[in-house]
């Protein structure tokens, strides 16, 4: 519906490809980058500046194993990651072609030297323009991450932890990190908005020191002399006064026996968990967005006659592999492919804007016939996976993917199909799929419930059950990690829908 858009692309005229053959050179990379940037600007993609780095496959394995952090502190788990990546790469089980891109400003994207020109162009379009614009535009990233500061912070973290290793021994630091890593998924604020993260580092440091001094005199520590007097207000003075969702934050601020350096390490892990939290919430959108744009940008260049047919064949082949969704009963099935779902949804959105059917007009009245560039931009900026699926999954796409919902109830000896891709089922399927992307449903909801301030200082966690789902077998081990940080006994209780609580495990501090 945007005539300028269509006419802006010149007619398929004489082909003047940017390059022939599959070899890349730095000049060609530069040329492709400029061309892709031109087209990206034409579609109004707003990005951080790009820093495109050419690396070897070994360096790529390094980058993989540090979970996408360009600068990482040392820990055995990254070594484990490295070994398994290296092994599968050597055996050829895994291509390393696809991108690693760092949410930072400048946005760092890696290109592997082994790749062909086509793959380099694909990765540039995907990572340096697709992901990059997502990082810059999506509200979760805008709220929670600080692209300008992250590299500095990671450098600080690595140096600080290396320093602690020197001072307190590698083993002590490693144990602490093990426990913090275990609790990483409980180290994020889910509901609370953060204070603006772009605070100057020194300032944060200072606040933290204050907080630590404060903790010296907080409720936990003030209790001993007042024991007798406090007897009758025991129930009233519960600590924490409200359940806390951010376990690592609670520990950092309140664990009685941690030393200052240990608190700082807890804080580092927590900060990094928070930095990655938006990525976990927007996997479908983020990959879908990047895939949609590499597809759109490169097709645009092709229509301008700047890419050869050979280029497109190779490009389409890897693109098709990436967005393949095996059916549930295939042996290749391992969950819904976020690339496939995300790409299809953005493609479908564009279709609804440009060529709406009668059904689309009913389901998406304000979308049908609108400017697709603006509508997609809006969707990218203001949603996360859960709400994106709930808002935009169309009946047509449910039909295309043949989605269906099942319920698995342990009180029932069979699985039941609750909805399929028919008129009666669209809304159910859409809602259930959206729920599937709600991290709050996927991970157990565990909160800090109570500290026995007047007694043995034990910590009680509560698991609020959802649909009667119990905790897994790792719970006792996890509690040992919590107890290592807390320093005293830690308990965990499961609370069912009726509010009944039941002790699941205990770990002595």
């Amino acid at each position: 519906m945007e005539p300028e858009m269509e006419s802006a692309a010149p007619p398929v005229a004489e082909r003047q490809p940017l390059s022939e053959g599959s070899e890349w050179t730095f000049e060609l990379l530069d040329l492709y980058d400029r061309e892709i940037a031109r087209v990206a600007a034409h579609y109004g993609l707003d990005t951080y500046p790009n820093q495109i780095e050419v690396i070897t496959s070994e360096q790529m394995i390094d980058a993989y194993s540090s979970v996408g952090m360009p600068v990482g502190y040392h820990h055995w788990s990254y070594g484990k990651q490295f070994l398994s990546t290296q092994k599968s790469y050597k055996r050829g089980q895994m291509g390393l072609a696809y991108e690693i891109v760092i949410n930072s400003s400048p946005c760092i994207a890696y290109l592997m030297e082994e790749n062909t020109m086509t793959m380099q162009a694909l990765v540039i379009a995907h990572a340096a323009y697709g992901h990059n614009s997502f990082f810059k535009g999506n509200y979760l990233f805008r709220t929670w991450t600080d692209a300008e500061g992250i590299l500095d912070y990671l450098v600080f973290a690595r140096n600080f932890i290396a320093d602690c290793e020197q001072r307190h021994g590698e083993v002590a630091v490693e144990e602490l990190l093990d426990s913090c890593h275990a609790l990483m998924s409980l180290g994020v604020d889910r509901y609370k908005r953060p204070a603006k993260l772009s605070m100057v580092k020194e300032q944060a440091r200072q606040l933290e020191r204050e907080a630590y001094l404060q903790s010296q005199v907080n409720d936990l520590w003030r209790t001993l002399p007042a024991k007798q007097a406090a007897g009758n207000e025991k129930q009233a003075a519960r600590f924490p006064s409200e359940p806390q969702e951010n376990l690592l934050y609670f520990i950092e601020k309140n664990a009685p026996r941690l030393e200052p350096w240990q608190r700082e390490i807890v804080r580092i892990v927590r900060k990094i968990a928070q930095y990655f939290y938006p990525q976990r919430q927007t996997q479908v959108m983020n990959e879908g967005w990047a895939t949609f744009w590499h597809y759109t940008l490169l097709n645009h260049l092709y229509e301008e006659g700047k890419l050869t047919d050979g280029f497109m064949m190779e490009f389409l082949q890897s693109h098709t592999n990436v967005v393949y969704q095996p059916p549930y009963n295939s042996r290749f099935y391992s969950g819904i492919n976020p690339y496939a779902l995300g790409f299809s949804m953005f493609q479908d959105l564009r279709r609804i804007c440009e060529h709406p059917t009668e059904e689309d007009r009913r389901w998406f009245p304000e979308l049908a016939g609108s400017d697709w560039v603006k509508s997609l931009d809006f969707a990218m900026r203001n949603f996360k996976d859960e709400s994106f699926v709930a808002q935009y999954l169309s009946p047509k796409l449910i039909r295309d993917l043949k989605l269906f919902a099942m319920v698995d109830d342990d009180q029932d000896d069979k699985l039941e199909v609750t909805a399929i891709h028919d008129d009666a089922g669209y809304r159910t399927v859409r809602q259930l799929l959206a729920d599937q992307y709600n991290l709050g449903n996927r991970e157990p909801n565990i909160q800090v419930y109570q500290v026995d301030v007047f007694g043995d200082r034990s910590l009680t966690l509560r698991h609020y059950m959802h649909d009667r789902r119990p905790l897994g077998e790792s719970t006792p081990e996890m509690l040992r990690h919590v107890a290592r940080l807390w320093g005293y006994t830690v308990r965990i209780e499961s609370v069912d829908q009726d509010g009944e609580s039941r002790l699941v495990a205990t770990s002595e501090g």
């Binding site: 730095f26 990379l29 980058d33 400029r34 500046p49 495109i52 780095e53 050419v54 070897t56 360096q59 390094d62 540090s66 040392h74 055995w76 788990s77 070594g79 484990k80 490295f82 070994l83 398994s84 290296q86 092994k87 340096a128 490693e174 890593h181 275990a182 990483m184 998924s185 969704q325 059916p327 549930y328 009963n329 295939s330 099935y333 391992s334 969950g335 819904i336 043949k402 269906f404 099942m406 698995d408 342990d410 069979k414 699985l415 199909v417 891709h421 599937q436 992307y437 996927r442 991970e443 157990p444 059950m465 649909d467 789902r469 119990p470 905790l471 897994g472 077998e473 790792s474 996890m478």
Partner: protein, 420 residues
């Protein structure tokens, strides 16, 4: 605004530290796996990396997660036959596909498999044997090299400039470069002489020829005496120092009392000797001789495989070894080493004969003869006779072995020689 950076040359092994941390953390499991790997290897097959696998549950990174049970909704793609309300059996292993990411380790993989490098593997191999550090270093180190001449090359550093070769090249080049002008000069001179003899010495042609002669002479003189192109340098390449050959005899008692554990210790003992020899010799033959009452030369598979019952006559093996030496390994060309492992049992009257054989026939030919008695009850006649051999010859070493750490002292003499 955009930057293109070539990072290929900067920092390669960024994960090296993390890898070491991993190995350190799971030392005991890896050690166990490495020990198993050793048993699966051939004696002569130590110097390569190893694929190690440890149970992945040992190295999982735990997270709070849901266990099975409760009520779960799953959305799946690719529906073909279902309609709403269908009830189907639970697939094996519960739950069907899970929507979420699952654990990062990839659940269901029971083993975590990775490669140890050769150095790392050797490290684990040595750990059991309680080798002194110096020895470990010697064994694990890349063999020393000596620089050997290997012809001449046109590039090199000034200190290896080869003057004679360079001058030869220069002569050749000068001749080649001056050949054309010289021919022309000769012709011109002949022509001039012809003109002079005809009395036309002052003619314009003669002047022209003279000019040409001058020009040619100048051109010949301008050919440089020596040019960078002429320079030749002596080429030297690294050659590993060990350059002789050795044969190693493995003598193993396979009578009924040698069980798997004892054989395993014996195998380590042979491996260590082999490893030591690889550091000193370029080519090593290994001869496996097993014996009970009669001795037999066998291949490695059979050597460690079967067990036979019956008594023990050690001298049969020594005789066979002696025969093989005479036949195939003339001691002028071969360094001869032997390692014998046994549980100490021998036919009483045979032991003195063993001593004689060793002292008279074998030790004069061999470099070193090492004997280990594995988990023997108490020293028997063979041990006592061998003690006399030891007193008589510095090339003989013996040791009673209860655990793997006891192996090393047998080789102490050998290594000491090397250090000195």
């Amino acid at each position: 605004m955009n930057r293109l950076v070539d990072r290929r040359l900067s920092g390669k092994n960024r994960s090296a530290v993390n890898r070491q941390r991993f190995l350190r953390r799971f030392k005991s499991q890896i050690r166990k796996a490495a020990a198993e790997a050793v048993s699966g290897r051939k004696v002569a097959d130590l110097e390569r990396g190893e694929k190690i696998s440890i149970p992945s549950k040992d190295l999982s990174e735990p997270m709070f997660h849901h266990g099975p049970g409760g009520r779960r909704n799953i959305v799946l793609p690719g529906n073909r036959e279902f309609v709403s309300g269908d009830r189907v059996d639970r697939p094996e292993g519960g739950g069907g596909g899970k929507g979420g990411g699952g654990s990062p380790d990839g659940e269901g993989m029971d083993e975590f498999v990775f490669e140890l490098s050769k150095e790392e593997f050797m490290d684990y191999f040595f750990q059991d044997l309680a080798l002194p550090d110096l020895v470990k270093k010697q064994l694990a180190a890349v063999p020393e090299v000596k620089r050997a001449r290997a012809g001449f090359v046109s590039q090199g550093n000034p200190s290896s400039l080869h003057v004679v070769r360079s001058m030869k090249q220069a002569i050749g080049r000068r001749m080649a470069m001056a050949a054309g002008p010289r021919d022309a000069l000769r012709e011109a001179e002949d022509a001039l002489e012809a003109l002079v003899t005809q009395g036309l010495g002052a003619s314009p042609e003669a002047d022209e020829l003279r000019e040409e002669i001058e020009a040619l002479k100048a051109r010949i003189a301008a050919v440089p005496f020596i040019d960078t192109w002429d320079l030749r340098y002596a080429n030297r390449v690294d050659q590993p120092t060990p350059s002789s050959q050795a044969v190693m005899f493995c003598l193993l008692d396979v009578s009924g009392s040698m069980d798997e554990d004892r054989k395993n210790i014996a195998k380590r003992f042979f491996m260590l000797l082999y490893l030591f020899l690889t550091k000193s010799y370029e080519r090593i033959d290994v001869v496996f001789i097993r014996h009970h009452t009669v001795a037999k030369e066998v291949d490695e598979e059979e050597f460690f495989a079967s067990r036979e019952s019956g008594g023990t006559v050690v001298s049969s093996a020594l005789e066979l070894m002696h025969d093989i030496i005479l036949e195939r390994y003339p001691s002028a060309n071969w360094n001869i080493y032997a390692a014998q492992a046994s549980d100490g049992d021998n036919w009483e009257n045979d032991s003195p004969r063993c001593r004689e054989l060793l002292l008279q026939s074998i030790l004069p030919l061999a470099q070193y003869f090492a004997y280990v008695e594995i988990e023997a009850e108490e020293p028997q006649s063979l041990w006592h006779e061998y003690e006399r051999v030891k007193a008589a010859s510095p090339r003989f070493a013996m040791q009673r072995i209860l655990t793997l750490e006891d192996i090393y002292p047998v080789f102490r003499e050998l290594f000491r020689k090397k250090v000195a």
